[in-house]
């Protein structure tokens, strides 16, 4: 085994161990399960109240919320994974060992994906149990989408690692992460708001350009934003649209590779010293 691989394995093992013995993973699982349960409860209540006897894709929204939460949690974790130990001086100590940016970033990505898998390993059986309790089927196609979903979460982790590597301090990293999230959400909300402007409005023509810019940004985000990829991927899986599922997965893997290369460049440039 090459030195780099051995080092990456050791760091990944340590990070996974830290996550398993920490509390934040379990808090995220609890929030995801609670959110999913509430959505499912709403769906079943709506069925009861409306008198309808069918409900479309009852588990799509709950699992989308769960995977999105896991993705955001891991992106946040990745955002601090380099910046915080660098602030504290422990990253410098880690690099006294034969560690380099490639092995560190590889290890952190590996660890985050393992934690994601762990998250799913705990969450999916809970949803399966809920499915039995409410007598609504958990579609196997959705489970296929969940199996592919690490490819959608990976770019979020890689973006977090890039922010962590490029930021001056852990506070700066969290600030940049917040800006990235606000921008991604802002484009969606902004576009929806502008779509709601009636053609008769006196501002319609003025806002048309802005709406087109936001539309283009939204279209770009469709391929860049991990949350958009999760949503599109799960939707494609439910429709058994394997081509779109594959394209989304490839976009996720490609995006992760690009962000990881950028993170490596940033870590070399910024260094490991406080």
């Amino acid at each position: 085994m090459s030195l780099r691989l051995r080092v990456a394995k050791a760091i990944a093992y340590q990070e996974i161990r830290d996550a398993v013995f920490g509390w934040s993973l379990y808090l995220t699982v609890a929030v995801a399960v609670l959110g999913g349960t509430l959505l499912l409860y709403n769906a079943t209540r709506a069925v009861g109240e409306s008198g309808l006897e069918i409900v479309a894709r009852p588990f799509y929204q709950p699992l989308l919320v769960a995977t999105s939460l896991a993705t955001v949690y891991l992106a946040g974790w990745a955002t601090l994974a380099i910046a915080r130990p660098r602030d504290q001086g422990s990253l410098r100590v880690l690099f006294f060992a034969p560690v380099d940016p490639v092995s560190l970033l590889g290890a952190l990505m590996l660890a985050a994906l393992a934690v994601y898998a762990l998250f799913m390993f705990v969450t999916i059986p809970v949803f399966a149990l809920l499915s039995l309790l409410v007598n609504l089927p958990l579609p196997p196609l959705l489970l296929v989408g969940m199996l592919v979903s690490p490819a959608f979460a990976a770019p979020a982790i890689a973006i977090g690692l890039f922010i962590s590597a490029v930021a001056g301090t852990s506070r700066g990293a969290m600030f940049l992460f917040g800006i990235a999230v606000v921008l991604a959400i802002g484009v969606q909300i902004g576009y929806s708001a502008l779509q709601g402007v009636p053609p008769a409005s006196q501002y319609y023509d003025t806002l048309l350009f802005l709406r087109e810019v936001l539309r283009a940004a939204r279209e770009a985000l469709r391929w860049v934003s991990p949350l958009a990829l999760v949503s599109a991927g799960l939707d494609a899986a439910l429709r058994a649209d394997w081509r779109e599922l594959l394209v989304s997965a490839l976009a996720g893997i490609g995006g992760s590779a690009v962000w990881l290369v950028l993170a490596g460049w940033a870590l070399r440039r910024r260094g490991v010293l406080p």
Partner: protein, 314 residues
């Protein structure tokens, strides 16, 4: 050479932190790297470890040049620096085992046990490392640096924060490591510690290596170093003037009783017989003579002051 640097220079903007440094550390020696705070010692260590890229110049470790991006050589090096307080949730034992794993050490437990016992951390090995006192963290850092049996041990202020008992343990551990053929590079401003153990010394001041020599060589180069005390029955009238006239007597003071002479001598040659002869010729009776070599601290202050004066004089 275990460490060799060639015109190593590091600038942060306009500030010159390391200035054309030419270091050489030989196998199986203890090299004391001295300098006041801010002299550039830690920056030099970071460059040696390839954690910082120098502005110009080069570093060779174990005869191989350190190139940008190279890191595998760190397997041969153990580094003990002040351990950050904010360690992960690991215990001391787990932390050292983690580093052993990073350095690809197969079964480190036996060696770890020896080191933990030697440095008296055995009883607290399962306590969280972040709960260790500063001195304990310092010792843990040394265990971490030695666990993979490195060829070169780099110590950055190894005894700061340690009590006398701890200092002794660390000193013995370093001596044992050197006796096994290891090379030690100690950066410190605790001069007494360096004086006790170093074979050779390099003094860094404002990023510039002022001198690199053995301790004896250092004293010889400075050219004044021996403090000499003579106890007399009485002070003969002409003795003080005769001694002051001697070129090797750099400073002379006489005690109030007149029976004790304190001199600072140029110790390039042994002038004790000459002084003894002058006292006797002057009619004095020597009750006792005592000589002290210049301490490293005095040498350090002299050398750095000379440098400051030289710089001030342009």
């Amino acid at each position: 050479m275990v460490i060799a640097t060639e015109n190593l220079t590091m600038r942060y903007g306009e500030r010159l932190v390391v200035d054309g440094l030419n270091l050489s550390v030989r196998p199986a020696e203890i090299y004391g790297f001295l300098g006041p705070n801010g002299a550039g010692k830690t920056t030099t260590i970071h460059i040696l470890l390839n954690l910082l890229r120098p502005t110009s110049g080069g570093v060779s470790l174990f005869g191989e040049p350190v190139t940008p991006g190279s890191f595998a050589f760190r397997r041969l090096i153990g580094v003990a620096a002040e351990e950050p307080a904010e360690l992960s949730r690991l215990t001391g034992w787990e932390l050292v085992r983690y580093f052993a794993r990073l350095c690809a050490v197969g079964a480190p437990e036996r060696r770890m046990e020896g080191l933990f016992r030697t440095l008296e951390l055995w009883d607290v090995r399962h306590a969280a490392a972040r709960d260790y006192s500063r001195g304990m963290r310092q010792k843990l850092s040394l265990i971490r640096a030695l666990v993979h049996e490195p060829k070169l041990l780099i110590l950055d202020e190894p005894v700061s924060g340690l009590d006398p008992h701890g200092i002794r343990q660390v000193r013995e551990t370093i001596d044992a490591y050197r006796n096994d053929g290891g090379t030690v590079f100690i950066s410190s401003h605790i001069l007494s510690e360096i004086e006790r153990s170093a074979d050779r010394v390099g003094i860094l001041h404002d990023g510039h290596l002022l001198i690199e020599d053995t301790l004896d060589g250092l004293r010889r180069r400075i050219g004044k170093g021996r403090r000499f005390v003579v106890e007399l029955e009485t002070l003969p009238p002409s003795l003080e003037a005769r001694l002051r006239a001697m070129p090797y007597v750099l400073e002379l003071s006489v005690s109030e009783s007149g029976r004790r002479l304190e001199m600072l001598l140029d110790d390039r040659d042994d002038v004790r017989p000459a002084i003894s002869a002058i006292v006797t010729e002057s009619g004095g009776v020597i009750l006792g003579m005592q000589s002290e070599e210049m301490s490293l601290e005095e040498a350090f202050v002299t050398i750095t002051n000379q440098n400051v004066t030289r710089l001030a004089g342009g």
